[in-house]
């Protein structure tokens, strides 16, 4: 079992000009690693992070899009696996952080903590599917995962963390959306 913040530190070493979509606990841990204009936090409804990421991937096929989605979020939008696989964006990397809880909503367990998201993604038709439980293995594979031709899916099995502080006004600041849009439309 891994820790989410350590996994993201590994990921951050390989992220340069990609757009990173994330929400809730993943967004908090990702933002703790530093400000980036190309962070996309304003998802607006739980579960739709992966759908926003698909829209970005279709809209900017030459730019890499990374989605950091919680397991509770994916469960609210499981159909996205089929939609994304069918749309087949080559530039989308869909990472699901599985800690078995609705962490931002009191830490209650998801209905089945043993659910195998990687198997679902494989069955849905993702081009490449990964499942990581060991940090050393993820460190070794992260660069490869991010460069594969998508859609790529990876589950990160992580421990629950101590309660986080969710600064939603900061995460959802309209200025972030404006800056991201300007960056995407000018590059």
């Amino acid at each position: 079992m891994m820790k989410r913040d350590k996994c993201f530190r590994v990921l951050a070493r390989h992220v340069t000009d990609e757009v990173v979509v994330s929400t809730y606990s993943s967004a908090v841990d990702w933002l703790n690693l530093g400000e980036r204009t190309l962070n996309y936090f304003s998802v607006g409804a739980m579960g739709l992070d992966s759908s926003h990421a698909l829209g970005l991937a279709l809209g900017r096929p030459n730019k890499r899009i990374i989605c950091l989605q919680g397991d509770g979020s994916l469960l609210m939008n499981l159909g996205c696996l089929v939609t994304i696989a069918a749309a087949a964006p080559r530039n989308l990397v869909h990472i699901v952080v599985q800690n078995g809880t609705y962490e931002a909503n009191g830490g209650h367990p998801i209905p089945n903590t043993e659910v195998e998201f990687a198997a679902m993604a494989r069955a849905a038709g993702y081009a490449h599917v990964h499942d990581f439980s060991q940090l050393a293995n993820f460190e070794q594979q992260a660069a490869h995962v991010l460069k594969q031709e998508g859609p790529v899916f990876a589950t990160l099995h992580v421990e629950r963390t101590k309660p986080l502080t969710y600064d939603y006004p900061n995460l959802y600041d309209p200025a972030r959306r404006k800056a991201l849009k300007a960056a995407l439309q000018s590059s």
Partner: protein, 180 residues
């Protein structure tokens, strides 16, 4: 013949699907995001699926459209969400968060299943249809009824305004468009 290509037996007024699609294209729409709806299936979705000028993304559930359209809008790409009113109702939270609170140009074309096109949506025989316009009003979302040929002219200005001023819009399809 598939059920969606049949015309309503008692409907003497034709609403041409080709005219609606021309208006969609003239509005700069590049992507159509859809879950099938029997009202718009034969006259809109089938021809859109064959149209090389439009990219159709078939989704599993209507709220996905709202997220996808949002992502596309950041990339300066225009999208139309083509769904049934039941899917609109199912997507209210996504529309609330993304389209209304974030002020995103989410353009929805909504088929009014079970509506009598000879009356207004507020007087529809179908409860689900009667509540659509009041819900849109409560959410502050501009809406336009496309019920006959003259209404097709509303489509382009509505979509242009949504993108120019970054707000959602709903185009309500009151009768089954023909496949011509």
């Amino acid at each position: 013949m598939d059920a969606d290509l049949l015309t309503e037996p008692d409907d003497k007024i034709e609403l041409k699907g080709s005219g609606i699609i021309a208006a969609i294209k003239a509005s700069g729409i590049e992507f159509v995001l859809s879950v099938p709806d029997i009202v718009t299936s034969g006259g809109l979705l089938r021809p859109i699926a064959r149209d090389p000028e439009l990219k159709l993304i078939r989704v599993c559930k209507e709220d996905e459209c709202i997220g996808i359209a949002s992502g596309l809008s950041y990339c300066d790409k225009r999208a139309l969400t083509l769904i049934q009113y039941t899917g609109f109702l199912d997507s209210i939270n996504a529309i609330r968060g993304i389209a209304v609170e974030y002020g995103q140009p989410i353009c929805m074309m909504i088929g009014l299943l079970g509506h009598d096109p000879y009356t207004t949506p507020r007087n529809s025989p179908r409860y689900g249809v009667r509540i659509i316009e009041p819900i849109l009003d409560a959410m502050g979302i501009p809406h336009h009824l496309v019920n006959e040929e003259a209404d097709v002219a509303k489509i382009r200005p509505a979509i242009e305004d949504a993108y120019a001023n970054s707000h959602p819009v709903a185009l309500l399809i009151g009768r089954r468009p023909s496949a011509s």
